[in-house]
Symmetry: C2
């Protein structure tokens, strides 16, 4: 038929019939085929029966959704989104839309994006140079806003975009990425937080494996052959739990030579995370109770010594390393106040202290990187291949 | 009990018993009460048994979720989010996370927020002054990115934050607000798009009324007395459909004196929208086929004359005015190309033209303002009272 080329859009009338071939269940017996939108195969960047690499199709962000592999990814991503939301809803969590634009700059200004109107004439309004009257940034985390809600609800979560203006070109970082964050009230135990993390991971993954079986299989067959075994292993075992102190011992006992120091008090690097996961038989592992000085001001003080730790936890998974980070939050007003004063932030965080001044509740929570989650279950090496439109240093196509 | 004041956090053990009172179903018979977090009632901004106004509690964005009315709002918002997602999932739509940061600036640079790293030293890198190598903005709509997906899936939607750097302080505008946007492939009829809009509105509202009955009742009793009748009316009737030309005739036949002109070719203003909804008996009304010159470049040309129109539609609802806007999209390459060239945008929209060059499909879609939707079903006058953290000109608290 004229015009019926690879990449064209067609309108077909006919009947679905049981297929005699073993390769598919049904086939379409066409009575009428009409070409709705033509496609010149010499100009179309994808070729019939050719398997293009993920790197190649990444150059065409407006067309790559038409490839088998990327349309499968987008269906999995949609289903995983839905699975995560169902998990929280079924467990009584309220969904909160935490803001994208914020006047908080808690996590170090170097990595923040600033926001101002494109056409604002600064000369015009010298006394009030900012649209919002204060400098504003794209959020790096919805946690503090979720903590507000922990004063009103037993459990809350948010699932939305977060931002880092990092210059890294790594396979695990984007300037715009999605985070799932949850906060649980009336808990004094890190185990409660870890239980939610593990259940979230397992319930969502089982849902995706069931409801997107064919799409997941495409990844486990062509993109990351053999990865299904790894996924099944993670689902079938209870996640490991070790303390940071034990993790340092394990690293120091190992025969592997690391680039970064493995002294108590140093942060774990990717090479350490990978070793620890392997040490745990490629089962995800929670690392708990990090050195107090490594963790942000809101992490709860364990008040131990001489090795002073905070009630914080990271979840490390095969291939990806750090997938989730969480902690109990410091709910004791005086301890929190003195730490905030020490950091010179008492003006900016007066509102945060008030959450503890008025009816403070012990609470804790965590965040999970959604793209890293997809990398982990599908076996995708580069984070740019699990998001519809990737934004990173020097690249913002469309 | 000492310390048990209004606003404190408490831990209660006891049993839930059937209540002898008609006012509630159950009551908690406490055996033990422990004050977890004290609250000094002289400093706490909310007072026991006082009904504070929405304006008053708005001053305390970190505490207002603890009031009855705002915690009810947040539960309704969470349930409505879930209802909208279920509606799309049940109808076969794939959820797409359209990007927040974009290099498109199609809707007029005056209203855009620009994004750059907070700490970027411009002197340092004169040849490449932008983090993304190009100027980047916060999205005003995910539509063009959804249209990309319409080339791969029968139906897609997105539900996320969108941004306008407007200086308006209206009761219907925010700088950061949520939009539900959908795109349907292989349709050549505006009716298909309107059907999805009407079903979405009705299915979501019915879900919320059923699953958040008590919370909705609080609004319909104390915030907008009598509003339930209005909601039931909207649900029970088929939405009206009139053309823009008919709308202009209705306005010109009316005895009401309008501030803005009602000549064919002029845009409808809020006063006109309100009149039209009232004229239609307070049932939502679709206004279709707007003057071609009023609509953006992507709206499909109806190729009629002498009154030249585009296949665009707005949904007007009581109280709020414009709730949704949609259109068929111009899928014909040559017509779209000449319009884009006319607007001098051919370089920026080469990728958009390629969607038509390679297997173009007739498609259409719409966007619905989520906060306006909540205002409409709850009867809330000010948009700042239906979002967890409101961002508008001169205000970005927390």
């Amino acid at each position: 038929m004229t015009g019926l080329t690879f990449g064209s859009a067609i309108d077909v009338s006919g009947s679905l019939e049981k297929s005699p071939s073993g390769k598919q269940n049904v086939e379409l017996h066409a009575k009428q085929i009409q070409v709705t939108g033509k496609c010149d195969p010499t100009e179309f960047p994808f070729k019939i029966k050719e398997r293009h690499s993920l790197e190649y199709i990444r150059q065409f962000p407006h067309l790559r959704c038409r490839t088998n592999v990327f349309s499968a990814l987008l269906r999995v991503r949609s289903e995983a989104t839905s699975a995560i939301q169902s998990f929280f809803k079924d467990n009584g969590f309220i969904q909160i839309h935490t803001p994208v634009i914020t006047s908080n700059d808690c996590e170090g200004a170097g990595e923040l994006f600033q926001v101002e109107p494109a056409s604002r004439d600064k000369q015009q309004d010298e006394r009030d140079p900012h649209y919002f009257s204060v400098p504003t940034y794209l959020t790096v985390s919805g946690q503090l806003h979720l903590e507000v809600m922990a004063g009103a609800f037993p459990a809350v979560y948010t699932f939305g975009p977060t931002f880092r203006a990092e210059n890294s070109q790594s396979r695990r970082h984007l300037a715009e990425f999605y985070m799932v964050e949850a906060e649980i009230s009336f808990t004094e135990s890190l185990e409660d937080v870890m239980t939610v993390m593990e259940h979230l991971f397992k319930a969502s993954t089982e849902h995706v494996l069931t409801h997107c079986a064919e799409d997941v299989e495409l990844f486990h067959k062509f993109v990351a052959p053999g990865h299904r075994g790894q996924v099944d292993l993670m689902l079938s075992r209870k996640f490991n739990v070790i303390s940071y102190t034990e993790a340092i011992d394990i690293l120091n006992r190992s025969s592997q030579i690391f680039t970064f120091p493995t002294k108590w008090g140093c942060d774990l690097q990717t090479e350490h995370e990978k070793y620890l996961v392997k040490h745990c038989g490629n089962i995800p592992v929670f690392v708990t109770d990090y050195p107090y000085d490594l963790k942000p001001f809101y992490a709860r003080d364990n008040q131990d010594h001489p090795r002073h730790t905070a009630a914080a936890v990271d979840l490390l998974v095969p291939g990806v390393g750090e997938l989730c980070g969480g902690s109990l939050r410091e709910e004791r007003l005086e301890i929190l106040r003195s730490r905030i004063i020490q950091a010179g932030m008492e003006d900016a965080y007066e509102w945060y202290l008030q959450l503890r001044q008025f009816g403070s509740v012990p609470h804790g929570g965590f965040g999970m990187g959604f793209e890293r989650y997809l990398q982990c279950i599908l076996g995708v090496d580069n984070i740019k291949d699990v998001i519809p439109f990737a934004r990173f240093s020097h690249s913002c196509l469309l």
